[in-house]
């Protein structure tokens, strides 16, 4: 009797584990949770002629998605590269396109043992904001044109010349 109950409990707990994991994945992948939702982010879209208020979103997006590898001061650690040089890349049109591509599609190179995961699940507002955050917080100074959600959107939609697998990093 005890052993029968024990088996039932074992199978129930095993089931509970997997159901819990599936529910978690479902919530996270649907962006149900306490992270930014598209509706909230859309409110940060710059109105025509208006200013893109990216500072808060940029800092938070960096904390949530980038900091564990690139570290709080942007210098990286262990095998993870720093992101200090981003502002110099962001001064040319190709450089800007490449930065956006790396964020959306990720990056794997022979030079680094750890691939950068694609961040295509981030909202355009988040990608633009975090790029501005990196350029301003960790850059060497000097002015760089602000990244806008519109620029990211154009790159995502029309970037046929450098889709996944063909972007300049490879």
């Amino acid at each position: 009797m005890r052993h029968l109950l024990a088996n039932i409990v074992t199978y129930s707990i095993a089931l509970l584990l997997f159901i819990g994991a599936v529910l978690f994945a479902r919530m996270r992948s649907s962006q149900y949770t306490l992270t930014y939702q598209s509706a909230v982010l859309a409110a940060y879209e710059p109105t025509p002629g208006g200013e893109f208020r990216w500072r808060q979103i940029g800092a938070e997006t960096y904390t949530r998605n980038c900091r564990s590898c690139h570290s709080a001061d942007g210098r990286g650690w262990d095998e993870y590269p720093g992101v200090e040089g981003a502002d110099s890349i962001a001064r040319t049109a190709e450089g800007r396109a490449r930065l956006i591509d790396i964020h959306i599609h990720g990056l794997a190179t022979d030079g680094s043992p750890v691939p950068m995961p694609g961040m295509g699940h981030l909202h355009d507002v988040e990608v633009a904001a975090v790029l501005n955050h990196i350029v301003e917080e960790f850059g060497t100074g000097g002015s760089v044109e602000t990244f806008t959600p519109e620029e990211v959107r154009r790159r995502r939609a029309g970037g046929n010349d450098s889709g996944p697998g063909t972007h300049p990093a490879k």
């Binding site: 584990l17 819990g20 994945a25 996270r28 962006q31 904390t63 993870y80």
Partner: protein, 438 residues
């Protein structure tokens, strides 16, 4: 009823703890959600780690936690759920690599980074632990070596897994989340220290002395121990204890044996030990006066727990030991309830304790049926296995509900249990002792 309540309480607490990591992962700040399969892989890693951590609680022999179920059931659960947990943990890297095959390079210990290397180390330690346990008997690995390796690899696995989580850091992105996870791993390592260092320190003040080592029939030994400067221990008839025979309680060599003495006596306890290899085959070399240490009593297989107006005990081989304790206790208590004992063994010469059982027949309302696989010439009793026909001939025909207690080799218990169920004995009146603990 108390037992049911505490049993349900610990189970609910366990189920809640199992879900804690998932709740914790949803507390902000959280990384933006990613693709379903990738997040599933991450979640499986976390629930798998929590399960592995909880195994340390299960093996720590907390009597309050294990008593409602019996420690044999807890260890049975441990063996099964550990395999489920390792399956979840193996799916974790698999799904993450499928989500982005570029991550394959993380599997190379020379590539990747420290986070992936510790993850790899943890998985290897877990797989080695499981394989060693599943194949221990096939490769005749000595119990003590297996046990030390099992514990050592378990600690390596959880420390490496925790380092992996802390370094990867995606879902442990605040100091307090890091603290909770590191704290959990530290507590689990602490439990091992408790079990292997603190418990022995406490046992040191409760030493026992070997007062008699007697050879019984059928390669079985009776080991008698008397407490040294303490009041001994109280147990319920049918329970067992982990026994160490050594000058120091810090030995890794430790085995579970059933008490065979009366639970009404605390001046001396006796264990019944069958020579099966390893430790038990060295019984003949144990000297009177040697020091011993006990961890117990443990186990839920006792007539005191399953009250009934009468009992049927069905024993196979050394499975007689818990019943011997129950019968002696009944004799000391003047318990008037009737007992039918069906005792199966290889041959008449191998039937351990049959002289003692003869004496007990005078003091307890006891009917004994011996079932011999290989009976001597002129044997008129039952032979072969404990079959439905043997049960038909030997079971009492009284009108009240007896409790059936079974202890013996697993195939025998399974066969007897199905025969009893077929006879219409309700399942809750059948209790089994699965003493293959390890």
């Amino acid at each position: 009823m108390d037992r049911t309540i505490s049993g349900v309480f610990w189970l609910l607490l366990y189920s809640a703890i199992v879900m804690v990591p998932i709740a914790l992962m949803l507390v902000p700040p959280v990384p933006a959600g990613r693709a379903f399969w990738l997040e599933l892989g991450v979640a499986l890693g976390f629930v798998g780690l929590t399960q592995i951590a909880l195994q340390f609680v299960l093996i720590a022999r907390f009597r309050r936690v294990t008593a409602p179920y019996g420690i044999d059931v807890v260890l049975h659960y441990h063996r099964q759920i550990a395999i489920v947990a390792v399956a979840a943990i193996l799916l974790h890297p698999a799904l993450i690599i499928i989500a982005d095959p570029a991550r394959l390079r993380l599997l190379n210990p020379l590539g990747g980074n420290w986070a992936s290397r510790f993850g790899l180390l943890s998985v290897l330690a877990l797989v080695a632990t499981i394989l060693m346990s599943l194949l221990r008997e096939r490769f005749r690995l000595r119990y003590e070596y297996w046990r030390a390796a099992h514990l050592g690899l378990g600690v390596v696995a959880i420390v490496a897994a925790q380092t992996h989580v802390s370094l990867a850091g995606l879902y442990t992105n605040t100091a307090w989340k890091q603290a909770i996870w590191i704290g959990m791993a530290a507590v689990m390592v602490g439990l091992v220290v408790m079990l292997r260092v603190l418990n022995p320190i406490l046992q040191r003040n409760r030493a026992w002395r070997v007062t008699e080592v007697r050879e019984e029939r059928g390669d079985t030994w009776s080991l008698s121990l008397a407490p040294v400067d303490h009041d001994g221990l109280r147990f319920a008839p049918g329970q067992f204890a982990w026994v160490k025979i050594a000058d120091t309680p810090f030995t890794i060599e430790e085995h579970p044996f059933s008490f065979t003495s009366s639970a009404e006596r605390s001046d001396v306890v006796v264990f019944g030990i069958k020579e099966l290899g390893d430790f038990s085959s060295r019984m003949s070399r144990v000297a009177v006066g040697a020091t011993a240490f006990l961890d117990g009593p443990h186990g839920a297989f006792s007539m005191d727990r399953y009250q009934a107006p009468g009992y049927v005990f069905i024993a196979g081989g050394v499975g007689i030991t818990p019943f011997l304790s129950m019968l002696k206790t009944m004799a000391d208590r003047g318990d008037p309830r009737p007992v039918t004992l069906i005792y199966a063994d290889r041959s008449w010469d191998a039937v351990a304790f049959r002289d003692e059982l003869d004496v007990l027949r005078e003091r307890v309302r006891l009917e004994i049926t011996y079932v011999l696989e290989d009976p001597p010439e002129g044997w008129e009793g039952e032979e072969g296995m404990v079959t439905a026909e043997v049960l038909e001939r030997s079971l009492p025909r009284d009108g009240y509900k007896r409790m059936y207690l079974l202890c013996g080799p697993p195939p025998m218990m399974d066969a007897v249990q199905s025969a009893l169920l077929e006879r219409g004995v309700p399942r809750r009146h059948i209790q089994l002792e699965r003493f293959a603990l390890v």
